[in-house]
């Protein structure tokens, strides 16, 4: 039972990271019908950018809440700018091209980001500082919960609820949903489609950036090519939940995180990805559009 509860805690933590990354995929897919293969590499870039921001600005001053918040805000801003540039340079010129051309462009963009990280920070693993969050640990009847895990769960939940409210309750959110349903009709209603797509990339990249920083803080070791596997898992999570569906991405992320943790705890972590994809294929056989369904009418 202890193993089960422990893996539950770990799984929810990893799951909320997947969910944050999955949101970026699902929003872009919902509006542009494009698998943004570079998104995972943006997540990796965020971990490295965060490392540099932290070590350069707060090298000696010790950690304060303000310092941590600044690191998060600053890194998220950098990654958002990169995400917007990515859309502008690699995806916008291909919006009317055959769909697979944009996929190749996305793969190319991922390659560029990955190798840029390698050129700037080097090919070796970097260690993320451990003092961003206090290293408090609670031991509840043998189940270990760290402060970092609570922060990851808390901040991700807040961000996801905020995003849900933004998409569903604000004028801008309505515009985003309109563009997802029909770009031409949205244009006729006076919505600036390019601006909406830019906002989607800002939000998606910033959420990915937060996930990237959390990955750095939680796992400590970061490598230039780690984005690919996180990205792929997150995309699988988005599909399991129902692509284009925001609650679906959250649900899919948490579910995949829990599933992975239980597989690692009870079977073997060497087979984790195999089980991930078997789960995906089984879900797709029985629910071809994901568990919560593709949101065709309200795709965001």
């Amino acid at each position: 039972m202890d193993i089960f509860l422990q893996q539950l805690v770990n799984g929810l933590t990893i799951g909320s990271l997947y969910a944050l990354v999955a949101l970026g995929y699902t929003m872009v897919y919902g509006v542009m019908k494009l698998i943004n293969f570079a998104h995972g590499d943006l997540v990796a870039l965020s971990a490295f950018a965060g490392l540099t921001v932290y070590t350069n600005i707060f090298a000696d001053g010790g950690t304060s809440i303000i310092a941590v918040i600044t690191v998060f805000m600053f890194t998220a801003a950098i990654i958002a700018v990169v995400g917007v540039l990515l859309e502008r340079l690699a995806y916008r010129p291909l919006r009317t091209a055959p769909r697979l051309s944009a996929v190749v462009s996305a793969l190319g963009a991922g390659l560029v980001i990955q190798n840029a990280i390698m050129l700037i920070w080097g090919p070796n693993m970097k260690i993320f500082p451990s003092d961003l969050f206090p290293s408090t640990i609670w031991d509840i009847n043998g189940v270990v919960v760290t402060f970092t895990q609570l922060m990851i769960l808390g901040i991700s939940s807040v961000l996801m609820i905020a995003l849900y409210l933004f998409i569903n309750k604000t004028k801008m959110g309505t515009a985003i949903r309109a563009v997802a349903i029909d770009q031409d009709a949205a244009k006729l209603m006076g919505i600036n489609v390019n601006k909406i797509i830019m906002i989607i990339f800002v939000i998606g990249s910033a959420l990915g950036a937060v996930a990237g920083l959390f990955i750095g803080i939680y796992y400590r070791g970061i490598t230039f090519d780690m984005g690919w596997m996180y990205g792929l898992s997150a995309f699988v999570a988005a599909i399991i939940g129902g692509i284009g569906n925001i609650p679906g991405a959250m649900f899919g992320g948490l579910m995949l995180g829990l599933f992975n943790a239980l597989i690692s705890g009870y079977i073997s972590s060497a087979w984790a990805e195999t089980f991930t994809f078997i789960l995906l294929i089984i879900v797709l056989i029985f629910r071809p559009t994901g568990i919560l369904g593709e949101k065709v009418a309200e795709k965001v």
């Binding site: 560029v112 190798n115 071809p288």
Partner: protein, 315 residues
Amino acid sequence: MSKTNMIALGFLVIMGVFPFFADSAWLAVGTTFLVFSVVAFSQDIILGRAGAFHMGHAAFFGIGAYTTAILNTHFGWPILATWAPAVILPMTVALITISPIIHLRGDYLLVATIGINIIFIQVLENDLFGLTGGPNGIFGIDVVRVFGFEFFEQTHMYYMAFILLGITLFIMKSLDGSKFGRAMFYINKDDVAAQSMGINIRYYKMYAFAIGAGIAGAAGSMFSVQYSAVSPEAFNVLQSIMFFTIVLVGGSASLPGVLIGTFVMFVLPEIFREFETARYLVFGLAMILTMILRPRGIWPVKFGNIPAFLKKDVK
């Protein structure tokens, strides 16, 4: 002789005499180029012709390679005898694994096929039946022997790969005019219209996967003999992405396109090997730029919406 045939003949002549001018390092690159272009053609049958978004082709390539490696090193089969299983096994695996997911729409199929590739790699690395040699792979694969002759030299490997490419080109050419090829064109252009004409989409897509996997398996067998070793990283998802990209950068359903794609994606990075660190950065930029400037590939199919075999009849 038409212009296309001239170019094709020129290509075959250049590739035919290439071993007389190349040193051994470039001969190895040339051989791998031939093997990879065979795999790229088989990817093109699935992706370019049948229009199925398939990003796990390295798995079928790898199953062919591992079939030859395992049968040869563990069971002592001569290489020649492993050729048939190296074609049939990937075909069978493709039929079994793809048939439950063949109905999935574009991007879903793409991610599911990536999954098949990842599962294949984990089976290899975890050494499931004690046959695959784990992360190190299998060493010491024999050379091809026919009636006491041993084909062990680089040049032998090159010409074996050359013959394999020739056979593949013949198959590709035959496909164009066949019932299968015509059905593919319609499915790719408009699957609803094709279905209403009585074309069984599921059947033909499976057919494409089976042929594609079989050809990739043959190439894999050749690949394992060329390097006399196999290891999982030669067949991972990055390789699949490379084959996928080759077809789209070159021009899908276009024979010269796929060859150019293979050259651009595989040989060019070898030429720029000195710029080790920066080359993949430039490479990624080149992929984006190619797609922006030529969204249908460097050498797209020429006939537009009318298949070539229909045009012939009109004349």
